[in-house]
């Protein structure tokens, strides 16, 4: 992420939404399969419903300044996804929106992201090490705070998702399985990593083009 002040244009935001929607759609089956193994088999379907809803409303959302657009996208997720991931991803985006100034640089983004992750933990009454999306969100937050490059942040996310495989779930549906949850990747962690990677790729491409 560039160290200079950034303001996402409406076009940027639309492009980002399109990229995230496409990434979720392409991986929906895989996400659902992960959830079939240790959950109830709907995670891909849920995420797709949410990002399709955001995309359907992208014009209105992207008319707003970035913080408000993030809040609006979060509210869309809350109102369209349901399940555990709806309130959690919704809270993530909504809190990010609430905490971000209109023009922001890397440090401000990292601060806002940290607040957003804490809000997710509060909403989910959960913490790190419980085999949930937090196990990707916290490492990503730390990497951002440490000023890592977008490529590095993306790698952290991917590794963190991978690292949920040997964990025993303590929160979310997978917790019902106890020890049997070991050996499978947490679906929500997989979508977090996917979204982080998608955003990182978009930023890299843009920086490269610039």
């Amino acid at each position: 992420m560039s160290k200079t002040m950034t303001r996402l244009t409406s076009e940027d935001m639309k492009a980002l939404i399109g990229a995230m929607q496409a990434a979720i759609a392409e991986n929906a089956e895989r996400l659902t399969a992960l959830d079939q193994a240790i959950g109830d088999g709907d995670h891909g379907i849920n995420m797709k419903r949410g990002f399709d809803a955001i995309a359907a409303d992208a014009d209105a959302i992207c008319d707003k300044p970035t913080p408000q657009a993030l809040s609006a996208a979060g509210m869309k997720l809350v109102m369209s996804v349901g399940g555990a991931s709806g309130p959690l991803f919704g809270t993530l985006f909504m809190t990010l929106g609430k905490s971000l100034p209109e023009d922001f640089e890397c440090g401000a983004f990292a601060d806002a992201f940290a607040k957003a992750v804490d809000a997710v933990a509060a909403r989910g009454k959960s913490s790190a090490g419980q085999k949930t999306m937090l196990d990707v969100l916290y490492p990503v937050s730390d990497a951002l705070a440490a000023g890592k490059s977008v490529g590095e942040v993306a790698a952290v996310a991917a590794e963190a998702a991978e690292a949920t495989v040997p964990m025993e779930a303590k929160r979310g549906r997978a917790s019902f399985l106890g020890e049997r949850s070991i050996g499978h990747m947490d679906p929500g962690s997989c979508s977090c990593s996917l979204l982080v990677n998608t955003i990182a790729a978009w930023i890299s491409a843009k920086e490269h083009a610039a």
Binding site: G41, A84, P87, G124, R171, G172, F176
Partner: protein
């Protein structure tokens, strides 16, 4: 996947439309499709609102009506509803005495109902309390984790609290009653086959021709363990002995025995299971005062069943017997 559907993405709304048309004398589907409500509201009565992922029919919409729920918010299949649904439902059925949410203990449901409760009181000034059901004995109880799931016992909470609300009980007392019924209730489920989520198109889990899943949830979540298929009597013994142990001192109270099918299990087998469960409970000296047998809290097309036992305190027994008129449960009217 073999189902009577047109398109997985419209299946829920089509099914709800059919339900509402079939029971137009009891319920109304909100024009938004976001909730099903009791046709005739009773002024001054606390409104009972439940909901959750779809695929558990007749739960919850089948229990909307006199003596039970005022509204049910159906989420997508196995996905909890979104807060706007409950907020709309509150606006639709609150007649001033406040609302009680009855929520099954899944993080999705808990979080969405929590958000809805916050929004409803912020936006509309509604008074909302909640009861979270967690009767599933297959999962260990703990405050550090998600804890036990809410399963078929939810129906018992809805019936008993529904009767009390109909009789004019106030919001706080209803919440206390609901918690008490839930605390007195334990369930355990077993599955012979998986279910298939329409949008997923294939079974949630694979299971061998001679295997069964012990402690399965109502979403085809893998259970406590996979084992060889055993006889109805053996299943009943394992389940009922466990339930009686967990109920502790409450086992001396008269109990309600609910044998619940998961969607693809025929009544003939459910009554056979009732017979097996009854034998075990009676051997343990448990007094089966009331019973219910049928497919009430289902998992789409999963073959399997659960056994639920509620130790009935005196007020609960009277409330269980009270009149109820819903699509799926009808007594005395």
């Amino acid at each position: 996947m073999k189902k009577f559907i047109n398109d997985p993405s419209t299946a829920l709304q089509e099914s709800l439309a059919g339900f509402a048309a079939a029971h137009a004398d009891i319920v109304t589907l909100a024009p938004s499709g976001k909730f099903v409500r009791r046709k005739e509201l009773k002024q001054g009565k606390v409104a009972l609102i439940s909901g959750g992922g779809s695929g558990h029919e007749p739960l919850h919409a089948g229990f909307v009506g006199h003596g039970m729920l005022d509204a049910a918010c159906p989420g997508e299949v196995f996905t909890s509803p979104t807060p706007d649904q409950m907020v709309e439902a509150v606006q639709g059925v609150d007649t001033g005495a406040g609302c009680l949410f009855i929520v099954k203990n899944y993080e999705g449901d808990v979080m969405n109902f929590d958000m809805a409760a916050e929004m409803a009181s912020e936006m509309a000034g509604a008074r909302v309390l909640q009861v979270v059901t967690n009767d599933d004995m297959a999962v260990e109880d703990s405050t550090f984790t998600t804890g036990r799931r809410g399963v078929a016992g939810t129906l018992v909470v809805e019936k008993i609290v529904g009767a009390a609300a109909e009789a004019g009980m106030d919001l706080e007392t209803l919440q206390e009653l609901g918690k008490r019924v839930n605390a007195n209730t334990r369930s355990f489920g077993v599955a012979l086959t998986s279910c298939t989520v329409p949008a997923a198109g294939k079974p949630t889990f694979d299971i061998g021709e001679d295997e069964m899943e012990f402690g399965v949830g109502i979403h085809g979540e893998p259970g406590r363990r996979r084992g060889k298929l055993i006889s109805a009597d053996e299943i009943a013994e394992e389940i009922c002995e466990g339930i009686v142990r967990e109920l502790g001192a409450a086992r001396s109270k008269p109990v309600l025995l609910l044998v619940n099918g998961f969607g693809a299990t025929p009544l003939m087998e459910l009554y056979l299971m009732h017979n097996s469960a009854r034998k075990v409970l009676e051997k343990q000296g448990v007094n089966i005062a009331r019973s219910l047998t049928g497919s009430f809290v289902t998992s789409l097309d999963m073959a399997g069943c659960s056994v639920t036992v509620t130790a009935l305190e005196e007020d609960m027994l009277t409330l269980w017997d009270a009149q109820v008129h819903t699509a799926a449960l009808r007594m005395g009217m």
